[in-house]
Each structure stands twice: as structure tokens, then as C-alpha cells.
């Protein structure tokens, strides 16, 4: 049926469109603002810098979109990233005497990161799905655990990667193909695959179904526990992947690595239009959310119009605005 713009209920559609287009408009607005305030904003260097930095949060936020869509939440990702980075550095450093400085050590380190992410995600998922503890509680607990574990293995200080290995590993963050940095390429690939996974596969549908009404999902032969665990495992592995991209940047990990990443990831998901209660998720929205958050920081740094210390304030306002928009969509949906 075609909709004609005559009826009173069409008053609903601008709001819905705003809900869909809102994040996109906000992003475009920010870009315009940035370009206007500082001519360097659109320079190759700055764009690469912003995108590469947002890649870590971005990769994690894509995974977070699935967890939230399925009605969960994961507060542990920042601490998990720090812990995985610590493990990875520890593993690589201790492999050097055996394998020497070379690519195999780095590959082994990457494997450690992925496996550690997998296990950490699975543990969260298992406790939520099988033991039946609230995701909020489980991941609040594991957040504390990973944070203290990484501080412990770093002995309160900083774990540093062997200097020669660091030189070898650096290009993974700083190089790229055709001038596009690796983190950006990986982020883009994760985002595209994530979007397809969410929109076009049974897994994505099942996540949304579970988040919308777990009972209905169960009665519809959806393996609720397995899907729920899978969302946490996916997120854990993406944390592993993000860590792989992050370690070559600084070559170290400490108790303060990845602090507040979880909040930034969750904020990006919400700004992107995913419903915090679950039932509806949008990966492309999350990507926009991530870009919005990092552009705000970037613009504040470049423009010296407002103190960069107010970064958090502005981000917070945007998150709240996004939720208000979500609510209006719901009211317009008139259930």
C-alpha cells in the first residue's frame, strides 16, 4: 500500500524519519562545523587520525550492538581489553626467547588475544544465559576482576612490549593499504560484516526476537541460551580484535588502559538508534554513533572554542538527546 500524505497519522512519519536520519544529520552537522572552525579538520592527517582512533571503540561497539539488541549489556569490555592486552604482551615477551623476534611471535600474540577474548566473552555469556544472573551484575563483576587482574600482572605499573618486537608490530596500527590505515580497514570490515549479520542472517533476527520478547523466542524454537552466549562471545572476540589493533599503537598496557571504553561503546550504540532495552539494533547506526563521539572530541581539541575538558559533558548531552528521540519514535508508533 502506498501512503498518501493526507491523514492525521502522517504526523508520525517525520518523527520516525528524524529517528532514522537524526544520527546521520548530526554527523553531517558536526563535519560541517569542524570544517568551518578549522581548515585542517578535513585534512588527510586529521581524518585518518580520527578514524583510526575511533576504530577500537568502533570494533567493540559493533559487538555491543548485538549484546544490547538481544537484551543484554556488557560493562566489562574496557577492562577486558586491558586484560587481553596485558596477556598478549606478556605472552609475546615470554615467547621471544623461544621463537626469537619475528612475525610468528606476533601471530602467536594475536592468537592469544582472540582466544582470551573468546573465553572472557563466553564466561560472561555462560553466567548470564545458563546461570541466569543479570547481565549488568555479571559484567559489573567481571569488569572489576579484569581491571584488577591487569593491574596485578603489570604489578601496578605498565607492561611494555619488547622494543624490537614493537618496531616490527608498529605498522599494524600506523600503516595501511593505499593510504588507508589498517585499523580503519578492519573497522570498516567489521562494520559491514556486522550490518549483514544483523540484518540478513537468522542470528541477527534471533537477537532481535530475544530482546523483544524472550518467551516468544523460546516458543518459536529459538535456542535462546545459545544465541545469548554467542552475542557475548562475538563481543569478546571483537574486544580481542580491537586489542590486536591497539597494542602496536602504544606497545604497552596498564591498569588504566581502556578505561571508560565500555561507556563510550554503549553510548555509541544508543546514539545509533539501538534500543537499550533490546529488541531492535542497527549496526550502521552504531558506526555513526562512534564517529559522532570521536568527532566531538576532535573538534574540541582543534577549535579551542570550548575547553576539551567539557568533552564528556557534550557527549553526555548527545546520549540523552538520542534516547529522547527514541522515546518519541515509540510514542509515534502508538502501540
Amino acid at each position: 500500500m502506498t501512503k498518501t500524505a493526507t491523514s492525521p497519522a502522517t504526523r508520525a512519519s517525520p518523527t520516525v524519519n528524524l529517528h532514522v536520519l537524526g544520527p546521520v544529520l548530526a554527523l553531517l552537522l558536526l563535519i560541517a562545523l569542524g570544517a568551518w572552525l578549522n581548515p585542517n579538520f578535513l585534512s588527510y592527517g586529521n581524518v585518518t587520525n580520527v578514524l583510526a582512533r575511533s576504530a577500537f571503540i568502533g570494533i567493540i561497539a559493533v559487538g555491543m550492538t548485538f549484546v544490547i539488541t538481544a537484551g543484554g549489556i556488557d560493562l566489562s569490555v574496557g577492562a577486558m581489553a586491558a586484560f587481553v592486552a596485558g596477556l598478549m604482551i606478556l605472552a609475546m615477551n615470554s615467547l621471544i626467547p623461544i621463537m626469537g623476534v619475528g612475525i610468528p611471535v606476533i601471530l602467536a600474540g594475536m592468537a592469544v588475544a582472540m582466544v582470551a577474548g573468546f573465553i572472557a566473552g563466553w564466561l560472561n555469556g555462560f553466567l548470564v544465559a545458563k546461570v541466569g544472573i543479570e547481565a549488568f551484575i555479571v559484567t559489573l563483576g567481571s569488569m572489576g576482576i579484569y581491571r584488577s587482574l591487569v593491574t596485578w600482572i603489570a604489578d601496578g605499573g605498565t607492561l611494555s612490549l619488547n622494543f624490537d618486537l614493537r618496531t616490527l608490530y608498529r605498522p599494524v596500527y600506523y600503516d595501511g593499504i593505499l593510504g588507508v590505515a589498517w585499523p580503519i580497514i578492519v573497522f570498516a570490515a567489521v562494520a559491514i560484516l556486522g550490518e549483514i549479520l544483523m540484518r540478513r542472517t537468522a542470528f541477527g533476527r534471533h537477537c532481535a526476537a530475544i530482546g523483544a520478547n524472550e518467551q516468544v523466542a523460546r516458543y518459536s524454537a529459538v535456542n535462546v541460551d545459545r544465541v545469548r552466549i554467542a552475542t557475548f562471545v562475538l563481543l569478546g572476540m571483537l574486544v580481542g580484535l580491537a586489542t590486536i589493533m591497539y597494542v602496536p599503537r602504544l606497545g604497552s598496557a596498564s591498569g588504566s588502559t581502556g578505561v571508560l571504553w565500555e561507556l563510550e561503546a554503549i553510548a555509541a550504540v544508543i546514539i545509533g538508534g539501538t534500543v537499550l532495552k533490546g529488541g531492535f539494533g542497527r549496526v550502521w547506526g552504531t558506526v555513526i554513533g562512534v564517529l559522532i563521539l570521536s568527532l566531538i572530541g576532535n573538534i574540541l581539541n582543534l577549535a579551542s572554542l570550548v575547553s576539551p575538558y567539557l568533552n564528556g559533558t557534550i557527549q553526555g548531552v548527545i546520549v540523552i538527546l538520542a534516547v529522547v528521540l527514541q522515546r518519541e519514535k515509540k510514542a509515534a508508533g502508538a502501540r
Binding site: M1, T2, K3, T4, T6, S7, P8, A9, T10, A12, I196, R200, T201, A202, R205, H206, A208, A209, A212, N213, Q215, V216, A217, R218, Y219, S220, A221, V222, N223, G279, F280, G333, A334, R335
Partner: protein, 519 residues
């Protein structure tokens, strides 16, 4: 479209029952549209004190919408609502309630996490000083429920009580508000004959006390028994208002559907010999005791029993939705317990009686609901969205689903159309054995006939069907055999001539005892 019928309609000024007063609540020239879809056209309708007015029509005819307009839940797109003859503009249901207009919704409107008592007094809690007076509220709740012969504990959480009991709570809540006008949208859809009887007695009492009552139901014998006047809607248009005494149930059905209806039940196909499902010793402590039965290929097995007899629980245990002791065999293969997926792969599916909480995702569109159970059939790494759209086309035709717009939320479909969608969703899984819990709950008589024909056709095609139903005529009219449950046990399995109302009721209330036979 049934012009003959419309011609004989006597609009508006039908004489009501003796001494009927002027209308308490009325609508005049009301139309309603949702987006581009118009669902009500120029409706006139009135309610008088001390009168039961029944509103009937097919699924999606606009009954619930009319009621919501009367009760202030939705403002009409055009026309007026008149209270005591003067136009009013209810700003919401609270205002309508304050004016004495109370509505019981087709879909439950209870807060699931709150207790029965808290629900009954929601928004008008009794206080003693600054504190809630729980003792008095409990006592009054209990008294209200007692009037309905309902033994639910006022302190139980609504989520823990059965669907029919929730309906009783809903009715108690309305009774407690001492309404001048009581609007009930399919209150008996989830009730068994006995509970319905109790409800009808309560309606009689309210009518005698001068309450104006608006009532819908797809059970036309009920309408004939209780209504003073009947109004028929078809496709959003007013077709007829007449004294109930002038209309037979057949006539009502005809006017509703706009065509003559032949026999409601198709002939029963003969089942084969092969046993496809064998259930043994299912036990859930406190709910089901050692239940067992068999089902043959091409057979329709009915399950009758009072509410609380454990029929739904037994079926849920069989398909793996509940943990239970016992054994389920499908075509000789034992089914792993506790997995709906395993059951579905073995060709066994279950259609729930609770479409709102367990059957459909109300906030999602038709397609996503339709294919959720059988999504694997549409997935080959990626979901084939064209195939999904085609499946929706087929479902809409086959099950006559009336949706204004295919992209709409399922929660906005009329109740009966939700049920049809749920049926379509279940059948999309291509089961060999299908358990249907209350197949025609909230479905109009024309569609009922289609669903009965559909069940018979399934059986004739070699599928096996279990029909759990609280409507005895349905169980009797469809089934080759009827299992009767009482208090968590299978009290007996009836065959051939034994399948009649008396025998079933006797078994169901635990009178006939020991006649149980396993087959």
C-alpha cells in the same frame, strides 16, 4: 456485498427493552483512520442504562476500535462521542473512567509483576493515613473475586496465574470501579463454558442494577443469550441494529459475514493405523500426573478439560518447553526433552494459547513474525527476503489475514487477525504433528469455519493434530478421539459415540472416574 442484508437493516431507532432510558453513551457519525487506512465509516451507535448491547462482526470489522473510542482510549478521526446526550471529548481513559465508563480490553491490560490485589486497585488504592491499607484491599479483592467464583489468591502475582484467571481479575477490576457503562471486548474468549456462565450471571446482575453494558464476542450463542440489542459491523460499516430477540444465531452469522454459512464442521477424515506420537508417564510435580496417550497418523485428537486441568502444561512438557519426567516418542524415536528445536526438527510444533506473551512479537512487522519459527527454511547463510515476502503473500491469502499495511506492527492487528498470523507462522514450519492450543480463540465464525476445514484437510493429508480447546462443540466436532483431563490426569479417552458433551463434562469434573482407558 450483501445488499439484501443492508436493506433490511433498521438503523438507529430500534425500540429497546421495556422502559429503556435515553442513551447514556453514544457515538454519532464516527469515522476512524490509521494513516491511509480507514477502519470505521460514519458509525452511529448508542448504549442505554440497564441494557446489554452486543457488538458483533468479523475480525478486523472495527469492534475494538469502536469500543476504544467510546471509552476514551482513542479520539475518533471524525464524528462525536455523546455522554448523556452532550458531546464530550475524553482526553484519555482516566477521564472516561471518572465519568463512569470502564473498559475491559481484548488483550490483557494487567501489570504482570504486580499482585492481583494491586491490579484490582491500581490507580485508586485505599489508604489509611499515609499508608496503603492492604488488609482492606485484600478483603475487597477477595470479595470481588468470590462474586466471580474465582479462587485466585489476591496476593499472587498476575504473571503466575492462568490466562482465564487473569480475565477474571480483569473483570473484578472493572466491577470494583462501579461503572455506569461497562465495555467488554471479548471477555469470554479465554474462558471455559463454566466460567462464561458465571460471567454472564454477573452481567445479568449489573444490567438489573442499571448499568449500560457493551459486549463483543465471537460466540454467538452467548450473544443470543445475554444481549438485548445487537449491532453488526462489517468492514468498518454499520450494517444492522436490531433487538436480539429478532435475530437467530444463524442470522447474526450471515449478516456478519455477508454470505450464507454452510456447516461449521467438515466431515472427519479417517485416521491411519501408524502411531506417530507416543507419550508416556509425563509428570510435573504438582501439575501433571503420569499422563500418557498415543496419536495416529491423520488423526485429530481433542483435549478437553476445565481450566487448570493441566492441558497446556502437558502440551508444553511434550514439546520441551517445560521440564518433566516421562517419555515422548515420535515415530518410534525418543525425543530429547527440554528442546523446542529438537521437537520442531522431529516434526512436532506447538501453537500457544497466549498469543500476546508467547506467540507474537507485537512490536515487529508481519514478516518477521511469520518466519521466526521456520527461519531456517528461508536461510541459506543469508535470509532470503524475497522468499519471505512471498510466504507472507501466501499466508495472507490462505489464512485471510486482514492487515491495513504489510509493514505494520503485529500489535496493531485486530485480535483475530493476530491469531490467524500465529496459525500461519506455525504451519510454515511444515509440521507432521501440530498441537494447537485454543485454535479459534477470538476468531469470527466465518474464519472459524475456514480453520476447521483447514484442520480437517491437514488430517486428510496425513498430518496429525492435537486440538486443545475449551469450546466443547469444537472438540466434539473436530476430533476422532477426545482425551479429557481433570486435575493433571488424563481422566479418559473417548471414541465414537462416547464423544458427547455429557460424558466429557462428567469426566472433566472428575465424576465418571475409573472409566479411563489407554489406547
Amino acid at each position: 456485498m450483501g445488499d439484501a442484508v443492508t436493506a433490511s437493516a433498521s438503523l438507529g431507532a430500534t425500540p429497546g427493552p421495556e422502559g429503556a432510558a435515553a442513551p447514556v453513551l453514544a457515538i454519532s457519525g464516527v469515522s476512524m483512520r490509521f494513516g491511509a487506512v480507514q477502519v470505521l465509516f460514519d458509525i452511529d451507535f448508542d448504549l442505554r442504562a440497564g441494557e446489554v448491547h452486543a457488538l458483533i462482526g468479523e475480525n478486523g470489522a472495527g469492534k475494538s476500535t469502536t469500543m476504544k473510542i467510546l471509552a476514551g482510549y482513542q479520539p475518533p478521526s471524525g464524528g462525536q462521542v455523546l455522554l448523556d446526550g452532550a458531546p464530550v471529548d475524553f482526553a484519555g481513559s482516566q477521564q472516561a473512567e471518572a465519568a463512569g465508563v470502564v473498559m475491559i480490553h481484548q488483550e490483557f491490560n494487567l501489570a504482570q509483576q504486580l499482585t492481583v490485589e494491586e491490579n484490582i486497585f491500581l490507580g485508586r488504592e485505599l489508604r489509611r493515613g499515609p499508608f496503603l491499607d492492604h488488609r482492606r484491599m485484600q478483603a475487597e479483592s477477595r470479595a470481588l473475586l468470590e462474586r466471580l467464583n474465582c479462587a485466585v489468591d489476591p496476593r499472587a502475582a498476575v504473571s503466575d496465574i492462568s490466562v482465564p484467571n487473569r480475565q477474571m481479575v480483569e473483570i473484578a477490576k472493572a466491577l470494583g470501579r462501579e461503572a455506569r457503562v461497562l465495555i467488554m471486548d471479548e471477555p469470554t474468549a479465554v474462558l471455559t463454558t463454566r466460567e462464561t456462565e458465571i460471567l454472564l450471571e454477573q452481567i445479568d446482575r449489573l444490567r438489573a442494577a442499571g448499568t449500560a453494558i457493551l459486549y463483543t464476542s465471537h460466540k454467538l450463542d452467548e450473544v443470543a443469550r445475554i444481549a438485548d440489542r445487537v449491532t453488526v459491523l462489517r468492514d468498518g460499516r454499520h450494517v444492522l441494529t436490531a433487538p436480539a430477540s429478532d435475530l437467530s444465531t444463524d442470522r447474526m452469522a450471515e449478516v456478519m459475514v455477508g454470505r450464507e454459512l454452510s456447516d461449521l464442521f467438515p466431515p472427519k477424515p479417517l485416521p491411519g493405523d501408524e502411531t506417530v506420537l507416543k507419550v508416556e508417564g509425563i509428570t510435573i510435580p504438582g501439575l501433571i500426573h503420569d499422563a500418557g496417550f498415543t496419536l495416529r497418523r491423520g488423526e485429530v485428537l481433542g483435549f478437553a478439560g476445565l481450566v487448570g486441568a493441566g492441558r497446556t502444561e502437558l502440551m508444553e512438557a511434550i514439546v520441551g518447553l517445560r521440564h518433566a519426567a516421562g517419555r515422548v516418542e515420535i515415530k518410534g524415536q525418543q525425543l530429547a526433552g527440554g528442546s523446542v528445536r529438537a521437537a520442531r526438527q522431529a516434526g512436532l510444533v506447538y501453537l500457544t494459547e497466549d498469543r500476546k506473551e508467547k506467540g507474537l512479537l507485537l512490536g515487529k512487522d508481519l514478516t518477521q513474525n511469520l518466519t521466526l519459527l521456520a527461519l531456517d527454511r528461508f536461510t541459506n547463510l543469508l535470509i532470503d527476503r524475497q522468499a519471505e515476502a512471498a510466504a507472507l503473500d501466501r499466508a495472507i491469502t490462505e489464512f485471510d489475514i486482514r492487515a491495513g499495511d504489510r509493514g505494520m506492527n503485529v500489535g496493531n492487528l485486530s485480535g483475530g487477525n493476530q491469531q490467524k498470523l500465529l496459525l500461519a507462522k506455525t504451519m510454515l514450519a511444515e509440521p507432521d504433528i501440530v498441537i494447537i492450543d485454543e485454535p479459534t480463540r477470538g476468531i469470527d465464525i466465518g474464519t472459524k469455519q475456514q480453520i476447521y476445514a483447514f484442520i480437517a484437510a491437514l488430517a486428510a493429508a496425513g498430518k496429525s493434530v492435537i486440538v486443545v480447546s475449551s469450546e466443547l462443540p469444537e472438540v466434539i466436532g473436530l476430533s476422532n478421539r477426545v482425551a479429557v483431563m481433570a486435575e493433571g490426569r488424563i481422566a479418559g479417552v473417548l471414541e465414537g459415540d462416547e464423544i458427547n458433551e455429557q460424558t466429557i463434562v462428567r469426566l472433566a469434573i472428575g465424576m465418571a472416574g475409573s472409566e479411563a482407558r489407554a489406547s
